[in-house]
């Protein structure tokens, strides 16, 4: 089983969520995060002074899924999350050894 962590633009969340739903990926966990990458920060100004804010709001989506579904999910996220501008974000994939459904205690693939 794999864990997919996708960092996307906050205003792409609705689209990505819907795209995932369409390919049958329902279980997701979402976090508000802030990020820095190649994207330049933004400037805020208060009382005549500029302040550089380099951590920009991003949304992180965490999905644990079966190995065979990873590719579809990644493609779907890339497709809907892309604007082509710097700041679109990243996807990280790693291995998960065990999944447990708290409600039933089920484990493994069927707990996803």
């Amino acid at each position: 089983m794999k864990k997919i962590i996708a960092i996307i633009r906050p205003n792409k969340l609705e689209d990505v969520k819907q795209a995932l739903e369409e390919i049958g990926c329902n279980g997701i966990t979402v976090k508000d995060v802030k990020g820095r990458g190649r994207q330049l920060g933004i400037t805020e100004s208060y009382r005549g002074r500029d302040y550089k804010v380099d951590l920009l709001p991003k949304t992180e989506i965490e999905i644990v899924t079966k190995d065979e579904e990873v590719e579809d999910i990644v493609k779907s996220i890339v497709k809907t999350g892309q604007t082509g501008n710097i700041g679109d974000g990243k996807i990280f994939i790693s291995t998960v050894e065990e999944v447990v459904r708290i409600r039933t205690g089920e484990r493994g693939d069927k707990a996803i």
Partner: protein, 410 residues
């Protein structure tokens, strides 16, 4: 003519008094509270609330008498009715405002003392010991505010010279600005001096309440429901509006975008600088004064402060101090007998001497406030200590000084 209580004047002064109280708690407290780091929001607000409470009590124990009691050598009043004993009971009308009860004049004046002290706190937030602030309040009230109020408003030497300060350009704004400067010079710079407001909604609300309350402050200073009160209300509002638009323009020119905090700051600047002139000038003059106050405050805040390097956290000197000066000069220039027949008018109306008197008032009150506050601050620093531990400053004062936190939103 027999002096009798005028119920209309009394009604207006009752509500004006309540309005000025609203300015401090929660108006100013929230205005300041929105601008600092989240970890200090409660402490910042607390400084205003506790200042208000302490002044509320001391004012009636001895403050009012010392400021407004029978004049001694032009410097201070006499303590004749400690604990406000027998003032209300006597049913006397105020000698300063002969259509309203003396108690009403006293409580109205109390609100000015309270907000002046609370205003100072804006400079020292995020790093002052709470106990040091508790000690500072009564000492500064007694040694600085009360004498200065007496000189200008209680029949003291400046009043005798004919200095004009309708509602507190010198007694309130310049005074708190210089005291703020003195304290920050003693306390030094915070570890993090960035002005990144944590919750502008509080400051928006605070500004709204300040603007609203300022009608009590300025139009209330007419001491009755008169045409003069109306005039003061109009120019107060227009100077605030002009101050707001001026700051927006400066923002646009300097950083490229008008900001809401800038607009609020400009409004406060406009309100502060019309204060000493509110009962003396017409609508057109109010636009000029509002513009000038906001303009100079903008420079003080955005350039002067960083150039001189003092850490006046929320720009008490930069806005209130500067605007107190601008407005007091403005009164000396634009005051006219057409608006207020009790005065001689200013420079533009053939009385250049007035400007000299205004400058003398600025210099004497400014210097007195600065020097006295330096002394008071130094003494507190040596005894109690002015500044919190570094660790407390980093972790934030709410949790370290009060064991509370401002938000539990998740």
């Amino acid at each position: 003519m027999d002096l009798v209580l005028n119920s209309g004047d009394t009604a207006w002064m009752l509500i004006s008094t309540a309005l000025v109280i609203l300015m401090t708690i929660p108006g100013l407290a929230l205005f300041y509270g929105g601008l600092i780091r989240r970890e200090n929001v409660l402490n910042t607000i607390f400084l205003s609330f506790v200042a208000f409470a302490i002044v509320s009590i001391l004012w009636f124990i001895y403050g009012y008498d010392l400021a407004f009691g029978h004049n001694i050598y032009g410097f201070i009043g006499t303590l004749s009715n400690p604990f406000f004993n027998n003032v209300v009971e006597s049913n006397a009308l105020s000698t300063y405002a002969p259509t309203i009860p003396e108690g009403l004049y006293a409580v109205f004046e109390m609100t000015f003392a309270a907000i002046t002290v609370a205003l100072i706190s804006g400079a020292v937030v995020e790093r002052m010991k709470f106990t040091a602030w508790l000690a500072f309040i009564p000492v500064w009230l007694t040694l600085v505010y009360i004498p200065v109020a007496h000189w200008m408003w209680g029949g003291g030497w400046l009043a005798q010279m004919g200095a004009l300060d309708f509602a507190g350009g010198t007694v309130v704004h310049l005074n708190c600005g210089m005291a703020a400067l003195a304290l920050v010079l003693l306390m030094g710079v915070r570890k993090n001096t960035k002005l990144l407001p944590h919750h502008l909604g509080y400051s928006i609300l605070g500004t709204g309440l300040l603007w609203f309350g300022w009608f009590g402050f300025n139009a209330g200073s007419a001491l009755g429901a008169t045409n003069l009160a109306v005039s003061a209300m109009i120019v107060t509002n227009s100077a605030a509006a002009m101050g707001m638009l001026t700051w927006m323009l400066m923002d646009k020119l300097k950083t490229g975008k008008p900001t809401l905090l800038g607009a609020l700051s400009g409004a406060i600047a406009g309100l502060a600088c019309i204060t000493p002139a509110a009962g003396y000038v017409n609508f057109t003059a109010s636009l000029i004064i509002g513009f000038a106050g906001s303009f100079f405050a903008y420079y003080a805040v955005s350039s002067l402060k960083s150039r001189l390097g003092y850490d006046d956290a929320l720009d008490v000197f930069g806005i209130h101090g500067v605007c107190g000066i601008v407005g007091t000069i403005g009164a000396g220039i634009f005051a006219t007998t057409a608006i207020n027949s009790a005065i001689k008018g200013g420079l533009l109306y053939g009385n250049p001497a007035q400007l000299g008197i205004q400058l003398l008032a600025i210099l004497s009150i400014g210097a007195y406030s600065l020097i006295m506050t330096l002394i008071i601050g130094k003494v507190i620093d040596k005894t109690i200590g002015l500044r919190v531990e570094e660790e407390q400053e980093i972790s934030g004062l709410d949790i370290t000084l009060h064991e509370e936190s401002g938000y539990r939103l998740s």
